[in-house]
Point group: C2
Chain length 116, copies 2
């Protein structure tokens, strides 16, 4: 809750975006093995999680998530190697950005109003 925080948005050439919400959703799908489980973990509706997955898949040359519809287990989902790569690259970009800009970032933190 506290502290000033840097987050990264990637605006793709096709108009889609990748940001912290979609990346956290991919990580949750990887951890939970289903879109419904990931939606619960991220405190979003199943519908919203599903739409975000569609957006992510649409933005990429190959899908980041594959889902098994229905079936006895109610349908699981998994993150593909491309999805893993996206998460990994995003987290690396975030870490590099934070460390490269840390001086300016601290200076900016000092100009911010503290408390509410």
């Amino acid at each position: 809750m506290a502290g000033t925080h840097l987050s990264i948005r990637i605006d793709l050439s096709n108009g889609d975006r990748i940001g912290p919400g979609k990346i956290a959703l991919l990580e949750a799908i990887r951890d939970k093995g289903s879109i419904s489980g990931a939606a619960r973990a991220q405190e979003m509706s199943y519908r919203r999680a599903w739409l975000l997955v569609e957006e992510i898949n649409h933005a990429l040359a190959k899908p980041a998530v594959t889902a098994e519809m229905g079936g006895r287990s109610g349908g699981g989902a998994s993150v593909t190697p491309v999805g893993e790569k996206i998460v990994d690259l995003y987290r690396k970009i975030e870490t590099s950005a934070r460390s490269a800009a840390s001086t300016e970032f601290r200076a900016l933190g000092k100009l911010v109003r503290h408390g509410k």
Copy 2:
């Protein structure tokens, strides 16, 4: 239309955010000398520009924009030294982030669907 693009959002401890839209608005106010001129340049309503300025000022210990209400000239606005500093720090953070993450960023660009 153009290539994949990295943008930075700063989530402040008080819940406000600074991102590319607010920074571009500050630059436009600096260039145009008024909120109405900046709103036109940024293709947003005067009301939206005004609300964004309020948000920026509220987020900071000292205001980034001061406005003269009314008067013969219809009221100008100017960016304060704190506002200039915010713009400068944000642009430096953006440049450092892009250069630090350029390898990962190119790798990510290759996974994106091209065209629509």
